[in-house]
């Protein structure tokens, strides 16, 4: 009886041990897969950051006050109203 019981315990230990070993392999694999994904995303983030800074530079080159003034005057034929015609709303 006693001997049978110890065999049973040993069997459970072996099964648990194997299961944990397999799960370690599995989890390690999972973590590596996720890490690869993370790295890809990191690279993507860096690329987007770069693009963002380039777009920002571009936007600001297009939007220099000098260019806006030139476009407003030459293309849209806008004029600055004389001071007497400017009304300033007071903040309430």
């Amino acid at each position: 009886m006693d001997l049978r019981r110890s065999y049973f315990q040993l069997l459970i230990c072996i099964i648990l041990c194997t299961a944990s070993a397999v799960s370690i392999i599995y989890i390690k694999h999972q973590s590596r897969e996720l890490f690869i994904e993370l790295e890809v995303l990191n690279v993507q983030r860096d690329k987007l950051n770069i693009q963002w800074s380039e777009l920002q530079t571009e936007e600001n080159i297009w939007a220099t006050p000098m260019r806006i003034e030139r476009e407003a005057m030459n293309k849209l034929h806008l004029q600055r109203p004389p001071m007497k015609k400017i009304k300033v709303y007071e903040k309430q």
Binding site: R32, E39, I50, S53, Q56, T57, N60, T64, V88, E90
Partner: protein, 573 residues
């Protein structure tokens, strides 16, 4: 031998011998295994670990960007953009004719030049064939698949606003290190320090595990300047026009927030584009608003008058004799003798004789103390590289002549920024706040002048731009403004003053009913028809103020020629 004849004993003996052999064989085998294991695990361990690591472990750098510089409304003034450099790490690098042609076409460099560069670096390894190529071009170069060219990612500063803010911002060198201006002043704040990490790679060279950080990356921090790009642009444009019109050498305009002492605009002309670093001339790089000092001429007068009122010896109504003053051999006289006039008239007609008379009656130590309190002779920008301290001699060195000439702006030197700061004290009811080039730096002020005196001096400044003043051209339609012009002779190389070369100043405050802005205009050597501060610098002041007040939506003064704006709005609706 007949097996059948073997005895039982013989059989067991043979069995033992056989077993002995087999056992011996296995023992030998396991011994060999142990030997091999010892060889791998003990004797050759380091070599093998190194080999394994060399195949699996990589140490990529962690990129850290240099911080962005923005204006107060978050408009970028300096951004780091990625560029690629062509790195050669082979000591006998050469290109085929086809490669040479393709490369020179992409890089837009002459083939001969390219060949020369390669020839010059013969025998060297680790050099740059070309630095800072745009990422678009580097992609094309990559596609050529030339052996021994490594493309290295680097970063370069881009300044979207071009020449508008260039002297203030300064620039960086090819390694992105600040070497001028704000880029230098805030180098440690802006600089990004790249890090290094250790990762495990798989067969396909993908990172599969982070082993550890060798050096943490420290990204650069962003910096928000107090500059308002719109005002900066306007100041630049108007200054440029004026310099052209008056055929002047150079000029400076500063716009200061009167209440916080933040610099809203700081323009120097002629200017340069800090994106084009190859063509920078040192004289254009100088941020003259901070690092050059000048004798301010009459624009210093309001501070002597503030001292006179503060001393209790004079009041706005005191009458002063403006007949020529004789000190030793020197006679100080005005172009027209005004007779006995009040202090306000002395300022509005800019009488040097009257100023000298006032100055001579003031206590030297008190006058010196107050001039120091106004910020003359001490640093004001908070560490801008190369900043000038200005020159305010100690009162023990003055003598009567020194004291008299200082009252109309000679023998004292100030930077345009110091002048702006001093006017800001008058505008801010006598409270001095440290000048700030960064946005939102709230600091406690220090009272250096009573608010009553500040108000009296402001009222006198309004008369200067009034119909009888010397700077009528500084007036602004719709707003009450005040200020003081100055015209100073330039010193000649021989030590005296030149008779025909001038510096033209105007410094002022607006709007006077609720001071918000201080503007200083300085123009060097106007050589056209006009050279007086009231004719050259004052109109620039007027235009800058009028545009700035409109942009900042500061309501017009009520007792002006305008209708009451509130009433006008109600009628509209």
């Amino acid at each position: 031998m007949n097996r059948g004849a073997e005895t039982k004993e013989e059989i067991s003996k043979r069995f033992i011998v056989r077993a002995f052999w087999v056992l011996g064989f296995f023992i030998l085998l396991s011994f060999l295994l142990v030997l091999r294991a010892t060889y791998l695990q003990v004797l050759n361990k380091d070599f093998l670990i190194d080999q394994g690591n060399a195949r699996q472990i990589r140490e990529p750098t962690i990129v850290a960007y240099r911080g962005m510089i923005t204006d107060r409304n978050d408009k970028p003034l300096a951004i780091s953009i990625p560029v690629d450099s062509l790195f050669i790490n082979h000591n006998n690098f050469s290109l085929s004719t086809g490669e040479l042609e393709a490369l020179s076409k992409i890089l837009n460099i002459d083939i001969g030049k390219l060949q020369k560069k390669i020839q010059a670096n013969k025998g060297k390894s680790n050099w740059f064939l070309e630095r800072h190529v745009s990422t678009k071009l580097s992609k094309k170069i990559k596609a050529l698949k030339i052996a021994n060219i490594t493309i290295i990612r680097e970063y370069q500063r881009a300044y979207p606003s071009g020449e508008i803010v260039s002297q203030l911002l300064g620039y960086t060198n090819t390694d992105e290190k600040g070497i001028e201006g704000i880029e230098l002043q805030y180098e440690s704040w802006l600089r990004g320090i790249a890090g290094k990490k250790k990762v495990l790679k798989d067969r396909k060279f993908r990172s599969i595990e982070n082993i550890g950080i060798i050096k943490t990356a420290k990204p650069g921090k962003d910096l928000k300047l107090s500059i308002d790009l719109r005002l900066q642009y306007i100041a630049n444009k108007l200054l440029k026009e004026s310099i052209l019109e008056h055929q002047a050498q150079f000029g400076t305009v500063i716009v200061l927030n009167a209440l916080t002492s933040e610099v809203l605009a700081m323009a120097n002309q002629p200017s340069f584009d800090n994106n084009e670093r190859s063509s920078i001339s040192p004289s254009l790089v100088r941020n003259r608003a901070i690092i050059d000092m000048y004798e301010p001429g009459s624009s210093i007068k309001p501070f002597i008058i503030a001292n006179a009122i503060e001393s209790g010896q004079y009041d706005a109504s005191s009458l002063i004799d403006t007949s020529p003053v004789k000190i030793g051999k020197k006679v100080i006289r005005d172009r027209t003798d005004l007779g006995n006039v009040d202090i306000g008239t002395i300022l509005s007609r800019s009488s040097n004789a009257g100023m000298s008379r006032i100055s001579l009656t003031l206590e030297s130590d008190k006058l010196w103390e107050m001039m120091s309190d106004f910020g003359f002779g001490s640093l004001s920008s908070g560490g801008f590289p190369g900043e000038a301290r200005g020159e305010l001699h100690h009162h023990s060195q003055w003598g009567d002549i020194g004291k008299a000439t200082m009252s109309y702006g000679y023998g004292i030197s100030v930077t345009p920024l110091q002048l702006a700061q001093a006017y800001a004290i008058l505008a801010n009811d006598g409270i001095r706040k440290p000048i700030s080039l960064l946005a939102n730096q709230l600091t406690e002020g220090k009272r250096v002048l009573s608010s009553v005196t500040a108000e009296k001096v402001r009222a006198m400044l309004e008369k200067v731009v009034g119909p009888n003043g010397t700077a009528r051209k500084a007036s602004v339609e719709g707003y009450r403004v005040g200020g003081k012009s100055g015209t100073a002779w330039k010193t000649s190389g021989s030590g005296g003053y030149t008779e025909d070369r001038y510096r033209s100043f105007f410094a002022g405050i607006a709007p006077l009913d609720d001071p918000q802005l201080v503007v200083v205009v300085f123009i060097d050597e106007p050589s056209g028809e006009f050279y007086y501060g009231g004719d050259v610098a004052a109109p620039v002041f007027s235009k800058v103020i009028s545009e700035s007040l409109r942009l900042l939506a500061i309501p017009p003064s009520y007792n002006s020629s305008f209708n009451d704006p509130l009433v006008a709005d109600l009628k509209l609706e």
